[in-house]
Symmetry: C2
Subunit: 144 residues, 2 copies
């Protein structure tokens, strides 16, 4: 699931930025990119620990910040108060449908909505930067 090309891109980024390579950084990068999506920092911590016990909490947070800054990963501030992370290497921008019963995330993009959002920015004299749209409801499985 994680290609050599992606690993190299990460190493190149570190070099470009004058940062040093470390095994913990690579393990976190691998976990975030190859693993499940929409994980909290704590879930990522537990995942990385399986492969690399002894890793510190602080390193998880530091590296997640690094990955977000580098654009390999995006942060999603959730309603439960925690942040969830998902790889942004392959996946481009998308929004989320979230089940309020089971927490399921469904990724969606509606080009019409995206266009109307730009129009809203324009109408109100804003220079568009980014947006966040979350649709909360009950998924099919949870209604049975």
């Amino acid at each position: 699931m994680l290609t050599e090309k992606e690993k190299r891109a990460f190493q190149d980024y570190l070099t470009q930025e004058g940062l040093k390579f470390s095994l913990q950084r690579m393990k976190i990068f691998e976990t975030v990119l190859a693993g499940l999506k929409h994980l909290t920092a704590n879930e990522i911590y537990k995942n990385v620990q399986k492969k690399y016990p002894g890793i510190g909490y602080a390193t998880i947070y530091r590296t997640l910040r690094l990955l977000c800054d580098a654009g390999f990963c995006t942060e999603l501030k959730c309603e439960d108060g925690a942040c969830r992370y998902e790889q942004a290497f392959v996946n481009a921008h998308h929004d989320h449908l979230i089940c309020t019963k089971c927490g399921r995330f469904v990724e969606v993009v509606d080009p019409q909505i995206e266009r109307l959002q730009i129009r809203l920015f324009k109408i109100n004299g804003f220079l568009p930067q980014r947006h966040r749209m979350e649709l909360y409801g009950v998924c099919k499985q949870c209604r049975k």
Copy 2:
């Protein structure tokens, strides 16, 4: 800015729910409904203190929760990690354009977007409950 009718609605709500009237509750209600919008709990705390020194932090949080449950007020989980509150007595649902330079909030509703959101729920087998849409950009003033 705060009418007798609104005050009475609050008192009626308390009675209906078997809750008791208190001066601190009324002061907080007045501040949230009459004051600025999109304030954090701490900002509301400081505002209420001007009129009612000695009020406790816990009472602010408790009453904000009460006001949200009652539908007088809505909570907006912001990117800076804090919640912001705004009265919902007059104002119905709306979304926000937020300036990333100055923090200005502009309230918007786009009926077309709202319709497309419902369609997205349907397409994905979700029972719609609510949504949140925030558009981040740079406002006209901040681009000068």
